[in-house]
Symmetry: C2
Subunit: 209 residues, 2 copies
Protein backbone atom coordinates (compact mmCIF):
# COMPACT_ATOMS: atom_id res chain seq x y z
CA UNK A 1 0.00 0.00 0.00
CA UNK A 2 1.37 3.39 -1.02
CA UNK A 3 0.80 6.42 1.20
CA UNK A 4 -0.37 9.52 -0.62
CA UNK A 5 -0.04 13.11 0.61
CA UNK A 6 -2.23 15.70 -1.07
CA UNK A 7 -0.96 19.29 -0.88
CA UNK A 8 -3.68 21.94 -1.18
CA UNK A 9 -4.16 25.70 -1.00
CA UNK A 10 -7.88 26.26 -1.49
CA UNK A 11 -11.23 24.61 -2.04
CA UNK A 12 -9.75 21.22 -2.69
CA UNK A 13 -11.90 19.98 -5.57
CA UNK A 14 -8.99 17.90 -6.86
CA UNK A 15 -8.55 16.47 -3.35
CA UNK A 16 -12.25 15.60 -3.39
CA UNK A 17 -11.80 13.82 -6.73
CA UNK A 18 -9.08 11.69 -5.11
CA UNK A 19 -11.21 11.00 -2.01
CA UNK A 20 -14.16 10.00 -4.22
CA UNK A 21 -11.95 7.75 -6.35
CA UNK A 22 -10.67 6.05 -3.20
CA UNK A 23 -14.28 5.61 -2.04
CA UNK A 24 -15.15 3.90 -5.33
CA UNK A 25 -12.18 1.54 -4.98
CA UNK A 26 -10.29 3.15 -7.84
CA UNK A 27 -7.10 3.59 -5.80
CA UNK A 28 -6.65 -0.07 -4.84
CA UNK A 29 -2.95 0.24 -4.04
CA UNK A 30 -3.00 3.72 -2.51
CA UNK A 31 -4.22 5.43 0.60
CA UNK A 32 -4.66 9.16 1.08
CA UNK A 33 -2.69 9.35 4.31
CA UNK A 34 -2.17 13.10 4.75
CA UNK A 35 -3.55 16.42 3.57
CA UNK A 36 -1.19 19.38 3.90
CA UNK A 37 -2.54 22.91 3.42
CA UNK A 38 -0.45 26.01 2.70
CA UNK A 39 -2.74 28.16 4.82
CA UNK A 40 -5.25 27.61 7.62
CA UNK A 41 -9.01 27.68 7.13
CA UNK A 42 -9.14 26.48 3.55
CA UNK A 43 -12.13 24.30 2.65
CA UNK A 44 -9.87 21.44 1.60
CA UNK A 45 -9.14 20.90 5.31
CA UNK A 46 -12.86 20.34 5.95
CA UNK A 47 -12.98 17.83 3.12
CA UNK A 48 -10.07 15.98 4.74
CA UNK A 49 -11.77 16.01 8.14
CA UNK A 50 -15.05 14.70 6.68
CA UNK A 51 -13.16 11.85 5.02
CA UNK A 52 -11.23 11.09 8.21
CA UNK A 53 -7.87 11.96 6.70
CA UNK A 54 -5.18 13.46 8.98
CA UNK A 55 -4.28 16.98 7.95
CA UNK A 56 -1.83 19.69 8.84
CA UNK A 57 -1.08 23.28 7.89
CA UNK A 58 2.38 24.50 6.92
CA UNK A 59 2.59 28.21 6.15
CA UNK A 60 5.75 29.29 4.36
CA UNK A 61 5.91 32.67 6.09
CA UNK A 62 5.89 31.02 9.52
CA UNK A 63 9.43 29.86 8.75
CA UNK A 64 12.43 32.19 8.73
CA UNK A 65 14.06 30.61 5.67
CA UNK A 66 13.18 28.38 2.72
CA UNK A 67 15.49 25.75 4.23
CA UNK A 68 13.60 25.75 7.53
CA UNK A 69 10.30 25.40 5.67
CA UNK A 70 11.66 22.63 3.45
CA UNK A 71 12.94 20.77 6.50
CA UNK A 72 9.54 20.96 8.18
CA UNK A 73 7.77 19.84 4.98
CA UNK A 74 10.14 16.93 4.37
CA UNK A 75 9.93 15.97 8.05
CA UNK A 76 6.14 15.92 7.96
CA UNK A 77 6.08 13.84 4.77
CA UNK A 78 8.66 11.37 6.04
CA UNK A 79 6.93 11.00 9.40
CA UNK A 80 3.81 9.88 7.52
CA UNK A 81 5.91 7.56 5.32
CA UNK A 82 4.61 9.25 2.18
CA UNK A 83 5.33 7.52 -1.14
CA UNK A 84 3.50 9.89 -3.49
CA UNK A 85 2.92 13.64 -3.21
CA UNK A 86 0.03 15.07 -5.19
CA UNK A 87 0.00 18.82 -5.78
CA UNK A 88 -3.70 19.63 -6.01
CA UNK A 89 -3.78 23.38 -6.51
CA UNK A 90 -0.85 23.94 -4.13
CA UNK A 91 0.35 27.53 -4.52
CA UNK A 92 3.55 27.44 -2.44
CA UNK A 93 6.66 26.78 -4.51
CA UNK A 94 8.20 23.35 -4.07
CA UNK A 95 11.95 23.89 -3.78
CA UNK A 96 14.63 21.96 -5.62
CA UNK A 97 15.57 20.36 -2.32
CA UNK A 98 12.10 18.85 -1.86
CA UNK A 99 11.90 17.85 -5.53
CA UNK A 100 15.30 16.16 -5.19
CA UNK A 101 14.23 14.35 -2.04
CA UNK A 102 11.10 12.97 -3.75
CA UNK A 103 12.34 12.54 -7.30
CA UNK A 104 9.60 11.26 -9.63
CA UNK A 105 7.29 10.96 -6.65
CA UNK A 106 5.61 14.37 -6.86
CA UNK A 107 2.81 14.83 -9.38
CA UNK A 108 0.99 17.98 -10.39
CA UNK A 109 -2.09 18.71 -12.48
CA UNK A 110 -1.99 21.61 -14.93
CA UNK A 111 -5.12 22.88 -16.70
CA UNK A 112 -3.84 22.82 -20.29
CA UNK A 113 -2.32 20.42 -22.79
CA UNK A 114 1.37 21.01 -22.02
CA UNK A 115 3.44 22.43 -23.79
CA UNK A 116 0.59 24.85 -24.60
CA UNK A 117 -0.21 27.56 -22.02
CA UNK A 118 2.24 26.51 -19.32
CA UNK A 119 5.32 27.76 -17.53
CA UNK A 120 5.86 30.87 -15.39
CA UNK A 121 2.72 32.95 -14.96
CA UNK A 122 0.33 30.31 -16.25
CA UNK A 123 -1.80 29.21 -13.33
CA UNK A 124 -5.48 29.08 -12.45
CA UNK A 125 -7.81 31.18 -14.52
CA UNK A 126 -4.90 32.80 -16.41
CA UNK A 127 -4.34 29.56 -18.31
CA UNK A 128 -7.89 29.59 -19.64
CA UNK A 129 -7.83 33.33 -20.38
CA UNK A 130 -4.77 32.79 -22.57
CA UNK A 131 -6.29 29.77 -24.30
CA UNK A 132 -9.42 31.76 -25.17
CA UNK A 133 -7.32 34.77 -26.28
CA UNK A 134 -5.38 32.52 -28.69
CA UNK A 135 -8.66 31.12 -30.00
CA UNK A 136 -7.89 27.42 -29.56
CA UNK A 137 -10.74 24.98 -30.13
CA UNK A 138 -9.24 22.20 -28.02
CA UNK A 139 -7.58 22.51 -24.64
CA UNK A 140 -7.36 20.05 -21.74
CA UNK A 141 -5.33 19.07 -18.72
CA UNK A 142 -2.01 17.39 -17.99
CA UNK A 143 -0.77 15.37 -15.02
CA UNK A 144 3.02 15.35 -14.85
CA UNK A 145 5.89 14.58 -12.55
CA UNK A 146 7.37 17.69 -10.97
CA UNK A 147 10.98 18.54 -11.73
CA UNK A 148 12.89 21.80 -11.44
CA UNK A 149 11.38 23.35 -14.59
CA UNK A 150 7.95 24.96 -14.10
CA UNK A 151 5.43 22.61 -15.80
CA UNK A 152 8.41 20.95 -17.49
CA UNK A 153 8.43 17.49 -15.92
CA UNK A 154 7.64 14.18 -17.63
CA UNK A 155 3.98 13.94 -18.71
CA UNK A 156 1.97 11.07 -17.23
CA UNK A 157 -1.52 11.61 -18.66
CA UNK A 158 -3.31 14.20 -20.77
CA UNK A 159 -6.91 14.60 -21.78
CA UNK A 160 -8.42 16.94 -24.37
CA UNK A 161 -11.45 19.14 -23.72
CA UNK A 162 -13.43 21.09 -26.34
CA UNK A 163 -13.65 24.86 -26.23
CA UNK A 164 -17.20 25.97 -27.00
CA UNK A 165 -18.72 29.11 -28.55
CA UNK A 166 -19.47 31.60 -25.80
CA UNK A 167 -16.94 30.19 -23.33
CA UNK A 168 -15.69 32.44 -20.56
CA UNK A 169 -12.48 31.60 -18.65
CA UNK A 170 -14.68 30.46 -15.75
CA UNK A 171 -16.87 28.18 -17.90
CA UNK A 172 -13.82 26.69 -19.58
CA UNK A 173 -12.03 26.20 -16.25
CA UNK A 174 -15.02 24.31 -14.88
CA UNK A 175 -15.30 22.07 -17.97
CA UNK A 176 -11.56 21.28 -17.88
CA UNK A 177 -11.85 20.36 -14.19
CA UNK A 178 -14.90 18.15 -14.68
CA UNK A 179 -13.88 16.44 -17.90
CA UNK A 180 -10.13 16.21 -17.39
CA UNK A 181 -8.51 17.18 -14.07
CA UNK A 182 -10.82 15.24 -11.76
CA UNK A 183 -10.45 12.13 -13.91
CA UNK A 184 -6.75 12.31 -14.71
CA UNK A 185 -5.44 12.96 -11.21
CA UNK A 186 -6.93 9.85 -9.51
CA UNK A 187 -6.01 7.79 -12.58
CA UNK A 188 -2.39 8.95 -12.45
CA UNK A 189 -2.21 8.34 -8.69
CA UNK A 190 -3.62 4.84 -9.19
CA UNK A 191 -1.09 4.06 -11.94
CA UNK A 192 1.74 5.28 -9.70
CA UNK A 193 0.57 3.19 -6.75
CA UNK A 194 0.25 0.13 -8.97
CA UNK A 195 3.89 0.60 -9.98
CA UNK A 196 2.91 1.01 -13.61
CA UNK A 197 4.77 4.26 -14.36
CA UNK A 198 8.34 4.13 -15.64
CA UNK A 199 10.17 7.40 -16.27
CA UNK A 200 12.80 7.39 -19.01
CA UNK A 201 14.17 10.90 -19.54
CA UNK A 202 11.23 13.10 -20.61
CA UNK A 203 9.02 10.10 -21.31
CA UNK A 204 6.66 8.30 -18.95
CA UNK A 205 5.97 4.75 -20.07
CA UNK A 206 2.74 3.24 -18.78
CA UNK A 207 3.06 -0.50 -18.30
CA UNK A 208 0.20 -2.84 -19.13
CA UNK A 209 -1.62 -4.29 -16.13
Amino acid sequence: MMNIAVLVSGGGTNLQALIDAQGRGELPNGKIALVLASKPGVYALERAAKAGIPSDVLVRRDFPTQDAYDEALIGRLEAARIDLIVLAGFLTIISERVVGRFENRIINVHPSLIPSFCGEGYYGLRVHEEALRRGVKVTGATVHFVNNVCDGGPIILQRAVEVQEGDTPELLQRRVMEQAEWKLLPKAAALFCEGRLAVEGAIVHIREE
Copy 2:
Protein backbone atom coordinates in the same frame (compact mmCIF):
# COMPACT_ATOMS: atom_id res chain seq x y z
CA MET B 1 -21.18 27.81 -55.07
CA MET B 2 -17.65 28.57 -53.81
CA ASN B 3 -14.66 27.59 -55.92
CA ILE B 4 -11.88 25.87 -54.03
CA ALA B 5 -8.23 25.66 -55.08
CA VAL B 6 -6.12 22.99 -53.41
CA LEU B 7 -2.35 23.66 -53.36
CA VAL B 8 -0.20 20.54 -53.09
CA SER B 9 3.43 19.45 -53.13
CA GLY B 10 3.36 15.68 -52.77
CA GLY B 11 1.16 12.64 -52.49
CA GLY B 12 -1.97 14.62 -51.92
CA THR B 13 -3.70 12.57 -49.23
CA ASN B 14 -5.35 15.73 -47.88
CA LEU B 15 -6.49 16.55 -51.43
CA GLN B 16 -7.95 13.04 -51.60
CA ALA B 17 -9.82 13.63 -48.34
CA LEU B 18 -11.39 16.74 -49.90
CA ILE B 19 -12.25 14.89 -53.14
CA ASP B 20 -13.82 12.05 -51.13
CA ALA B 21 -15.81 14.50 -48.98
CA GLN B 22 -17.10 16.17 -52.16
CA GLY B 23 -18.06 12.75 -53.52
CA ARG B 24 -20.05 12.02 -50.36
CA GLY B 25 -21.89 15.35 -50.66
CA GLU B 26 -20.15 16.83 -47.63
CA LEU B 27 -19.08 19.98 -49.49
CA PRO B 28 -22.57 21.08 -50.59
CA ASN B 29 -21.64 24.70 -51.20
CA GLY B 30 -18.13 24.14 -52.55
CA LYS B 31 -16.47 22.78 -55.65
CA ILE B 32 -12.83 21.77 -55.96
CA ALA B 33 -12.15 23.82 -59.08
CA LEU B 34 -8.37 23.74 -59.32
CA VAL B 35 -5.36 21.78 -58.06
CA LEU B 36 -2.04 23.63 -58.13
CA ALA B 37 1.18 21.69 -57.56
CA SER B 38 4.53 23.22 -56.60
CA LYS B 39 6.39 20.69 -58.74
CA PRO B 40 5.60 18.42 -61.68
CA GLY B 41 5.03 14.69 -61.39
CA VAL B 42 3.61 14.60 -57.86
CA TYR B 43 0.94 11.98 -57.24
CA ALA B 44 -1.56 14.65 -56.20
CA LEU B 45 -1.79 15.59 -59.89
CA GLU B 46 -2.90 12.06 -60.73
CA ARG B 47 -5.55 12.24 -58.02
CA ALA B 48 -6.80 15.48 -59.58
CA ALA B 49 -6.87 13.94 -63.06
CA LYS B 50 -8.77 10.87 -61.83
CA ALA B 51 -11.35 13.14 -60.20
CA GLY B 52 -11.64 15.29 -63.34
CA ILE B 53 -10.31 18.41 -61.62
CA PRO B 54 -8.27 20.90 -63.68
CA SER B 55 -4.70 21.15 -62.45
CA ASP B 56 -1.58 23.16 -63.09
CA VAL B 57 2.02 23.26 -61.93
CA LEU B 58 3.73 26.44 -60.73
CA VAL B 59 7.38 26.00 -59.78
CA ARG B 60 8.86 28.86 -57.78
CA ARG B 61 12.31 28.55 -59.34
CA ASP B 62 10.85 28.93 -62.85
CA PHE B 63 10.24 32.58 -61.95
CA PRO B 64 13.03 35.17 -61.67
CA THR B 65 11.57 36.90 -58.61
CA GLN B 66 9.08 36.28 -55.82
CA ASP B 67 6.93 39.03 -57.32
CA ALA B 68 6.80 37.32 -60.69
CA TYR B 69 5.83 34.04 -59.04
CA ASP B 70 3.21 35.75 -56.89
CA GLU B 71 1.74 37.43 -59.94
CA ALA B 72 1.45 34.13 -61.78
CA LEU B 73 -0.10 32.44 -58.73
CA ILE B 74 -2.62 35.22 -58.13
CA GLY B 75 -3.41 35.33 -61.85
CA ARG B 76 -4.07 31.60 -61.97
CA LEU B 77 -6.30 31.73 -58.88
CA GLU B 78 -8.24 34.75 -60.13
CA ALA B 79 -8.71 33.24 -63.57
CA ALA B 80 -10.41 30.26 -61.93
CA ARG B 81 -12.49 32.62 -59.74
CA ILE B 82 -11.19 30.94 -56.59
CA ASP B 83 -12.95 31.80 -53.31
CA LEU B 84 -11.04 29.49 -50.96
CA ILE B 85 -7.42 28.32 -51.10
CA VAL B 86 -6.58 25.15 -49.21
CA LEU B 87 -2.92 24.48 -48.46
CA ALA B 88 -2.73 20.69 -48.37
CA GLY B 89 0.92 19.98 -47.67
CA PHE B 90 2.08 22.87 -49.89
CA LEU B 91 5.78 23.45 -49.28
CA THR B 92 6.31 26.70 -51.20
CA ILE B 93 6.08 29.79 -49.00
CA ILE B 94 2.96 31.89 -49.53
CA SER B 95 4.12 35.51 -49.60
CA GLU B 96 2.56 38.39 -47.71
CA ARG B 97 1.29 39.70 -51.01
CA VAL B 98 -0.73 36.57 -51.74
CA VAL B 99 -1.94 36.38 -48.12
CA GLY B 100 -3.04 40.01 -48.36
CA ARG B 101 -4.82 39.40 -51.66
CA PHE B 102 -6.79 36.46 -50.16
CA GLU B 103 -7.19 37.61 -46.57
CA ASN B 104 -9.02 35.02 -44.45
CA ARG B 105 -9.54 32.92 -47.57
CA ILE B 106 -6.45 30.69 -47.27
CA ILE B 107 -6.59 27.75 -44.89
CA ASN B 108 -3.82 25.39 -43.83
CA VAL B 109 -3.71 22.14 -41.88
CA HIS B 110 -0.96 21.67 -39.30
CA PRO B 111 -0.30 18.29 -37.64
CA SER B 112 -0.34 19.43 -34.00
CA LEU B 113 -2.59 21.20 -31.53
CA ILE B 114 -1.38 24.76 -32.08
CA PRO B 115 0.26 26.49 -30.15
CA SER B 116 2.16 23.27 -29.38
CA PHE B 117 4.82 22.14 -31.86
CA CYS B 118 4.33 24.84 -34.49
CA GLY B 119 6.16 27.75 -36.06
CA GLU B 120 9.42 27.86 -38.02
CA GLY B 121 10.97 24.44 -38.54
CA TYR B 122 7.93 22.46 -37.47
CA TYR B 123 6.65 20.68 -40.56
CA GLY B 124 5.95 17.11 -41.63
CA LEU B 125 7.55 14.38 -39.59
CA ARG B 126 9.53 16.91 -37.48
CA VAL B 127 6.33 17.90 -35.69
CA HIS B 128 5.71 14.34 -34.57
CA GLU B 129 9.37 13.75 -33.66
CA GLU B 130 9.22 16.76 -31.33
CA ALA B 131 5.90 15.69 -29.80
CA LEU B 132 7.33 12.24 -29.02
CA ARG B 133 10.56 13.77 -27.68
CA ARG B 134 8.54 15.93 -25.27
CA GLY B 135 6.57 12.88 -24.18
CA VAL B 136 3.06 14.27 -24.75
CA LYS B 137 0.17 11.83 -24.44
CA VAL B 138 -2.23 13.85 -26.58
CA THR B 139 -1.47 15.58 -29.87
CA GLY B 140 -3.73 16.34 -32.84
CA ALA B 141 -4.21 18.63 -35.80
CA THR B 142 -5.29 22.20 -36.43
CA VAL B 143 -6.92 23.89 -39.42
CA HIS B 144 -6.32 27.64 -39.39
CA PHE B 145 -6.50 30.68 -41.58
CA VAL B 146 -3.11 31.71 -42.94
CA ASN B 147 -1.73 35.09 -41.96
CA ASN B 148 1.81 36.46 -41.99
CA VAL B 149 2.91 34.57 -38.86
CA CYS B 150 3.98 30.95 -39.46
CA ASP B 151 1.18 28.77 -38.01
CA GLY B 152 -0.06 31.92 -36.24
CA GLY B 153 -3.39 32.58 -37.95
CA PRO B 154 -6.87 32.25 -36.44
CA ILE B 155 -7.75 28.65 -35.56
CA ILE B 156 -10.83 27.19 -37.27
CA LEU B 157 -10.93 23.61 -36.01
CA GLN B 158 -8.79 21.32 -33.85
CA ARG B 159 -9.02 17.67 -33.03
CA ALA B 160 -7.09 15.69 -30.42
CA VAL B 161 -5.37 12.36 -31.12
CA GLU B 162 -3.89 9.98 -28.54
CA VAL B 163 -0.22 9.15 -28.49
CA GLN B 164 0.27 5.43 -27.87
CA GLU B 165 3.04 3.36 -26.26
CA GLY B 166 5.51 2.34 -28.93
CA ASP B 167 4.65 5.16 -31.32
CA THR B 168 7.22 6.16 -33.92
CA PRO B 169 7.00 9.53 -35.70
CA GLU B 170 5.67 7.66 -38.75
CA LEU B 171 2.95 5.79 -36.83
CA LEU B 172 1.89 8.97 -35.05
CA GLN B 173 1.87 10.95 -38.31
CA ARG B 174 -0.41 8.37 -39.91
CA ARG B 175 -2.81 8.34 -36.94
CA VAL B 176 -2.98 12.16 -36.86
CA MET B 177 -3.75 12.18 -40.60
CA GLU B 178 -6.46 9.52 -40.37
CA GLN B 179 -8.14 10.66 -37.17
CA ALA B 180 -7.74 14.41 -37.50
CA GLU B 181 -6.35 16.01 -40.68
CA TRP B 182 -8.51 14.15 -43.19
CA LYS B 183 -11.63 14.92 -41.17
CA LEU B 184 -10.90 18.52 -40.18
CA LEU B 185 -9.86 19.84 -43.57
CA PRO B 186 -13.08 18.95 -45.48
CA LYS B 187 -15.13 20.07 -42.47
CA ALA B 188 -13.38 23.46 -42.36
CA ALA B 189 -13.76 23.89 -46.13
CA ALA B 190 -17.47 23.06 -45.87
CA LEU B 191 -17.98 25.57 -43.02
CA PHE B 192 -16.20 28.24 -45.06
CA CYS B 193 -18.27 27.54 -48.16
CA GLU B 194 -21.48 27.66 -46.12
CA GLY B 195 -20.47 31.13 -44.87
CA ARG B 196 -20.41 29.94 -41.28
CA LEU B 197 -16.94 31.19 -40.30
CA ALA B 198 -16.56 34.69 -38.85
CA VAL B 199 -13.07 35.92 -37.97
CA GLU B 200 -12.79 38.40 -35.10
CA GLY B 201 -9.14 39.13 -34.34
CA ALA B 202 -7.51 35.84 -33.33
CA ILE B 203 -10.87 34.11 -32.88
CA VAL B 204 -12.90 32.20 -35.44
CA HIS B 205 -16.57 32.05 -34.51
CA ILE B 206 -18.52 29.17 -36.02
CA ARG B 207 -22.12 30.13 -36.67
CA GLU B 208 -24.93 27.67 -36.09
CA GLU B 209 -26.52 26.25 -39.25
